[in-house]
């Protein structure tokens, strides 16, 4: 039994699910900045709902990447170099998003603010799509040869599956972000978000269902099918709860969809971490891609300390900022003027 590699496979799955659940709504809010707001105050309201937490949420992605490097260097090296172009897009999108969140409110003009929130919306969309494509590829396959080197050129990753994965994460973030906003705001936005969820969820969540089915249908265990059932009921419960105006349940329902759906995908993929679309003999697995037991042991100790503590303080930060925000309470913007005596 490959205990340590299996444990790290589970931990990396946990980090990815944590990332999609947490930064998922930040990315969704970024998209809604662009398409679902009607006034400057509303846009600032949206930004302030994620303001205190988005950066901490993004670290889940960095940690998923770094943990993959530490625990499965061959997986990290092959996946990240094989998906070079999509990851460049993800990086550019994340850079633009981060800077837009911080700098938008500091823009001096209306036009400047518009540039920033267009970038924020586009960055959120691009990041979600690229990350979705990457996760889809690592579960459905990439043309890699016996040296775990991508063949077929810069666009070898481009496939129906990668597009479905990209759309799946975009769609999920869109719905998840709306659910988060319905839960975190009051006033017009709250009710508008309920309507958006009601109308968009059946379409926006379709790609994630297709992706789960593609991976799981590839000869999976009964448990994986069970998880698919759980995911489907989560989606239905989320949709019904939203209709009934129960935002907490709606958020829980869609979170269950993501958690169970992603778990089904990871479970179905195990022990393969990156299938080769050329020959199954070249598949990267938790055995041939992992670090030594010594390194995994050291990292297990670090994770055993770091992750529980993380859950406590990050949970606490959500508790501190638990209040619903309203557009009416947003103060007027204060222009920054030079502290100069004018004659």
């Amino acid at each position: 039994m490959d205990f340590l590699p299996t444990l790290w496979f589970v931990l990396i799955a946990f980090l990815w699910i944590g990332y999609l659940l947490l930064d998922g709504f930040d990315l969704g809010v970024g998209m809604h900045m662009l398409v679902s707001t009607r006034s400057e105050k509303e846009r600032r309201l949206l930004l302030n709902t994620i303001g205190p937490v988005w950066d901490g949420n993004e670290v889940w992605l960095i940690t998923a990447g770094a943990a993959t490097f530490a625990a499965f260097p061959v997986w990290y090296a092959t996946l990240f170099s094989g998906l070079y172009l999509p990851l460049v897009i993800v990086l550019l999108a994340l850079i633009v998003r981060a800077v837009s969140i911080e700098y938008r409110g500091k823009a001096a003009t209306e036009r400047g603010r518009r540039v920033w929130h267009v970038l924020l919306g586009a960055g959120s969309f691009g990041a979600a799509f690229g990350i979705g494509a990457m996760l889809a590829i690592t579960t459905t396959g990439l043309p890699i040869d016996e040296n775990a080197i991508r063949v077929g050129g810069a666009f070898a990753w481009f496939s129906l599956e990668s597009v479905i994965g990209g759309l799946a994460v975009v769609g999920f973030c869109f719905v998840h972000g709306a659910t988060f906003l319905a839960l975190k705001t009051d006033g017009d936005i709250r009710y508008r978000m309920r309507r958006i969820i009601r109308l968009s969820a059946p379409v926006a969540l379709l790609p994630i269902v297709v992706w789960v089915l593609i991976v799981v249908a590839d000869g999976s265990s009964l448990t994986a099918y069970g998880l698919v059932g759980v995911a489907a009921s989560g989606a239905v419960i989320g949709w019904i709860a939203n209709r009934a105006g129960r935002e907490g349940w709606a958020f829980t329902g869609f979170s269950v969809l993501l958690t169970a759906g992603a778990s089904a995908i990871f479970l179905a993929a195990y022990p393969v971490v990156l299938p080769s679309s050329i020959d199954a003999a070249y598949d990267l697995t938790i055995q041939n891609a992992s670090s030594s037991d010594y390194t995994l042991g050291v990292m297990t100790v670090v994770a055993a300390i770091g992750i529980p503590v993380l859950l406590v303080y990050q949970g606490w930060s959500y508790w501190v900022f638990r209040k619903r925000l309203t557009a009416a309470a947003i103060p007027d913007a204060q222009p920054v003027v030079p502290a100069v005596k004018r004659p």
Binding site: R44, N48, G51, P52, V53, D55, G56, E58, V59, L61, I62, T63, A66, A67, F69, A70, P73, V74, Y76, A77, L79, F80, S81, Y84, L85, L87, V88, L91, I95, V99, I101, E102, Y103, G105, K106, I149, R150, G153, A154, S291, S292, Y294, T295, V298, M299, V302, A303, G306, I307, L310, Y313, S317, F321, A329, Q334, V336, V337, A339, V340, K341
Partner: protein, 526 residues
């Protein structure tokens, strides 16, 4: 030179993104503790000045912080993207400090900084001050982990070779690598030098503006007479104390940091003479064995042929002192070291198709001399210049304000750049000086733990992909640098009122306003 060589493009990309990232990072590392101390002073004493200091410098800290965050993700990803052979070779030992950094530092830093930004009037005062400390300490811990990773590339320890790959067998040795400990101390001191110069230059500008506007004047002894301009938000008497305090804190931090930089730099150089002798010989342009420190070398440094280099000014004994602490020991020159390296690590890159166009190529062991020679000297020169400015500034402002001269003010502003430049020059020197290795061999370590940079890139990634990323990243980074500088300038020009808009709105005594402030207004940072 082949401009479409993936190795070359990937190196440019790594260089550009890393040097850029490390413009923002030292300011974050060095300014954070200063803001945390100011915040603590405010909580402990309740003196307004400290609140203003915290808010103003905190605002600049955040404008800069986000750029470090945004460009940091690229660092985490590009090892795998552009350097997959490197990642495969070293992953067992190199990935661990990166994952530790994420798990034990980045999470704390980002979460607690969010709590600090949005926690004003939301959290109990002491707890709120504790959040900035948590974020700042975590950022320093993150610097430690990343320098552990870098130091392993400079001086690999704590591994054994299994199936041709270094495998970690002693995590304590990796974490306590002597290279890492001195490099960390050196980098942190360098970061404080940056923040000292930053505080000093900006505070000087503010004091100068108060004098230019006739708010502050000087008496016949040259002592400051503090005034106020009620029509300008924030320009009251207290404002003067904010800036003179900032200036003095900045000056002292800069001087102390420079002492620390010199001390740790000396330790680092002594280690480097043992661990990477060729890097230090290249730093000197030293072709032949000797004891002299070169002050000025002329000739074709770029040719990498030692015999084209002539030292016109050199100080006997100083090089030996730098390396060993005495004036006699002969230091090995490039012409002595290269044959030793060739014997140990070969004369050609292995003829393996994995290495693309570089397979079978002759190895150039001498780093680019113009970069190492001048990088080393510019680092020292900029560092000394910054410290000199700080001492001079402290002396010139001993009577409580700055001279009215615009030229001196502009010099003070310009010298903000010196410690940044020293930091960049130092890193460029040490990274370029490690070439042709990406993992430099450890002379006292076990055999086989080294890697040539030419063998480290991603074999499957084309020059086109690399060009696309290096061009787009460079363009985006350049645009963002303009944006960051514009914002910093605007907030600096606004003075404290730019970070505390309440200074601009006169208190009309309506208690309802105050309630609204505390419950709602300040909770919105964006």
């Amino acid at each position: 030179m082949d401009w479409l060589d993936p190795v070359l493009i990937a190196r440019w990309q790594f260089g550009i993104t890393t040097v850029y990232h490390f413009i923002m990072v030292p300011l974050t590392l060095g300014l954070g503790p200063v803001v945390a101390v100011m915040h603590t002073m405010w909580v402990r004493t309740g003196i307004q000045r400290y609140l203003r200091l915290t808010k103003f410098w905190g605002k600049l800290y955040l404008i800069n912080f986000i750029m470090g965050v945004a460009t940091g993700i690229v660092q985490e990803f590009q090892f795998g993207m552009a350097w997959s052979e490197y990642s495969r070779f070293v992953g067992d030992v190199f990935g661990a400090p990166l994952a530790m950094e994420a798990l034990l530092a980045f999470f704390i830093e980002s979460t607690f900084l969010g709590l600090w930004i949005f926690g004003w009037n939301h959290l109990p005062k002491k707890l709120h001050a504790a959040t900035i400390w948590a974020a700042v300490i975590a950022s320093i811990i993150s610097a430690y982990f990343i320098i552990v990773a870098n130091s392993w590339m400079q001086h690999p320890v704590g591994v054994e070779m299994i199936d041709g790959r270094p495998v970690m067998n002693d995590v304590i040795a990796v974490m306590t690598n002597n290279t890492a400990i001195v490099a960390f101390a050196h980098a942190i001191m360098g970061a404080f030098a940056v923040s000292g110069g930053f505080l000093l230059g900006i505070a000087w500008y503010q004091l100068w503006q108060r004098r230019r506007d006739g708010i502050d004047t000087v008496d016949e002894n040259g002592r400051v007479v503090v005034g106020e301009a009620p029509e300008v938000p924030g320009r009251d008497r207290e404002d003067h104390s904010v800036w003179i305090k900032s200036l003095r804190v900045g000056g002292v931090v800069a001087v102390v940091a420079f002492a620390g930089v010199a001390l740790t730099g000396d330790l680092q150089a002594k280690l480097m003479f043992e661990q990477q002798p060729l890097k230090m010989a290249a730093a000197e342009g030293a072709c032949y064995n000797g004891t002299s420190f070169s002050v000025l070398a002329l000739g074709e440094l770029g040719s990498r042929d030692c015999d084209d280099v002539t030292n016109v000014i050199e100080i006997p004994g100083v090089l030996s002192f730098l390396a060993h602490g005495d004036f006699e020991t002969e230091i090995k020159g490039i012409n002595t070291l290269v044959p030793i390296y060739q014997e140990l690590y070969g004369t050609h890159i292995p003829d393996n198709p994995l290495y693309g166009a570089h397979a079978g190529e002759a190895i150039e062991y001498v780093p680019m001399l113009e970069v190492t020679y001048w990088g080393f000297r510019l680092m020292i020169a900029f560092g000394m210049a910054a410290a000199g400015v700080a001492v001079l500034a402290l002396w010139m402002t001993r009577k409580g304000t700055v001279p009215r001269s615009k030229l001196i003010m502009l010099t003070a502003i310009a010298s903000i750049a010196a410690p940044f430049a020293a930091n960049s020059a130092g890193w460029i020197f040490t990274e370029m000086g490690r070439q042709p290795f990406v993992v430099a061999p450890n002379p006292t370590g076990i055999d086989g733990v080294y890697m040539f940079t030419a063998a480290a890139v991603s074999p499957g990634v084309s020059a086109g992909e690399l060009l696309f990323s290096v061009i787009t990243l460079t363009l985006v980074y350049a645009a963002l640098l303009v944006v960051e500088l514009t914002l910093l300038v605007r907030y600096v020009r606004g003075g404290v009122a730019s970070a505390m808009p309440e200074l601009g709105t006169p208190d009309d005594g309506d208690p309802q306003d105050k309630d609204k402030d505390e419950t709602d207004v300040l909770a919105f940072a964006y």
